[in-house]
Symmetry: C2
Subunit: 222 residues, 2 copies
């Protein structure tokens, strides 16, 4: 693609934007660290089940968390979580394909952190762009539903290279799909040897306890 | 979001890039028109079934087509289509989240169009960014699998506003999901009154004939 002048120019511009974003992300993380907050960035394709899993975590009450929701439009996801007693701020990006650290800083001003142990950022449903933008969290949790196919790790390597934990979601449906979680783990470990994997289903409840424990083990000191 | 200087700057940059892209897209469309080729842009989230549906169309042989495949990495999808006798070029974008008209121009040089009636562009699996970039095709076909949820039209309006045809894919699984195709159509028509919808399943074969007819009816004169 070296001969595409359009792309070269665009890459330069994106690099400039990223450098500013990285500085703001450091400020977000400093805030989290100063307040004993664990920051988690939930990413996936649209409809992989991010919000539903957060609703399950809200019901479990193993840790106290708030949520920054990202969508192009609608306040649906924030409303779902508020119904479960979770404080949530909705960011509507219009046409922007990812959240950035500036959006997070702004949204954080609308949340209280005194009683909170974990701040979850539910990123825009997009398996590409959010992976390139540090939003100031400590860990990236990437969902991949069995309905999407086990070939997605190789096809979207930027996302899976940056994942700390992969949640294989909708695993109650695994019998209907040609999906091998072991293959996902093998492929992901080639990109990042430290990545972990959990199978999860908000329908059957499988994996919710394990995810909750994974998060609890990483909580900061208040 | 007016106070986010990072975003304002980014929007300006994206607008500049878009304007160059639009000019190149016009050139691509002129080529298609001059050669009697119908250009189709297939877009969806990752794993909604774009390639599998193209494989089904290849088996049907109702029209002669070639394919430009977009992925961040791997040549898997182009290889699948080649096995079905379809000439396919794979674009690997690295980390870029959409195809643009310059990439299409370059890829087209590797294809022969003499015997071809339809050129299909299978865009990057991403329900956000590809919607904003004209790639020089005549129609946008957007897949939404029943596994993703019927709320996606409202959450990703840019994509559905630009759709000419929505394919509700994996419809053989509809009984397992709380998914209402009628609601999808209602919501999509609010964004674009001319949009059409078809239910499709590459497993059961439902809708393949209807999609094939939809495409055949729009072929250009050679």
């Amino acid at each position: 693609m070296q001969d595409n002048p359009h792309l070269t120019k665009k890459i330069e511009l994106v690099e400039k934007v990223l450098s500013k974003n990285d500085k703001e992300a450091i400020r977000v993380r400093e805030f989290f660290d100063a307040h004993g907050i664990l920051g988690l960035n939930f990413m996936s394709s649209p409809g992989s089940g991010k919000t539903t899993i957060l609703e399950q975590l809200a019901l479990k009450k193993s840790f106290r968390f708030n949520v920054i929701e990202g969508d192009l439009e609608t306040e649906n996801d924030a409303n779902k979580l508020r119904k479960r007693g979770i404080e949530a701020v909705q960011i509507q990006t219009g046409s922007a394909c990812h959240l950035d650290a500036f959006m997070i800083s702004e949204a954080m001003q609308k949340l209280s952190f005194e009683e909170i142990e974990v701040c979850v950022i539910e990123n825009i449903g997009n398996l590409v762009c959010p992976a390139s933008y540090d939003v100031g969290t400590h860990y990236n949790i990437v969902l991949l539903s069995v309905t999407e196919g086990d070939d997605k790790v190789e096809k979207y390597p930027v996302m899976f290279k940056n994942a700390d934990l992969i949640l294989v979601s909708k695993c109650d449906l695994i019998e209907h799909f040609d999906f091998d979680p072991e293959l996902v783990l093998q492929r992901a470990k080639k990109l990042n040897p430290h990545v972990e994997i959990l199978q999860i289903s908000s329908k059957s409840g499988e994996g919710i306890e394990a995810l909750s424990s994974w998060i609890c083990a990483r909580r900061r000191k208040k």
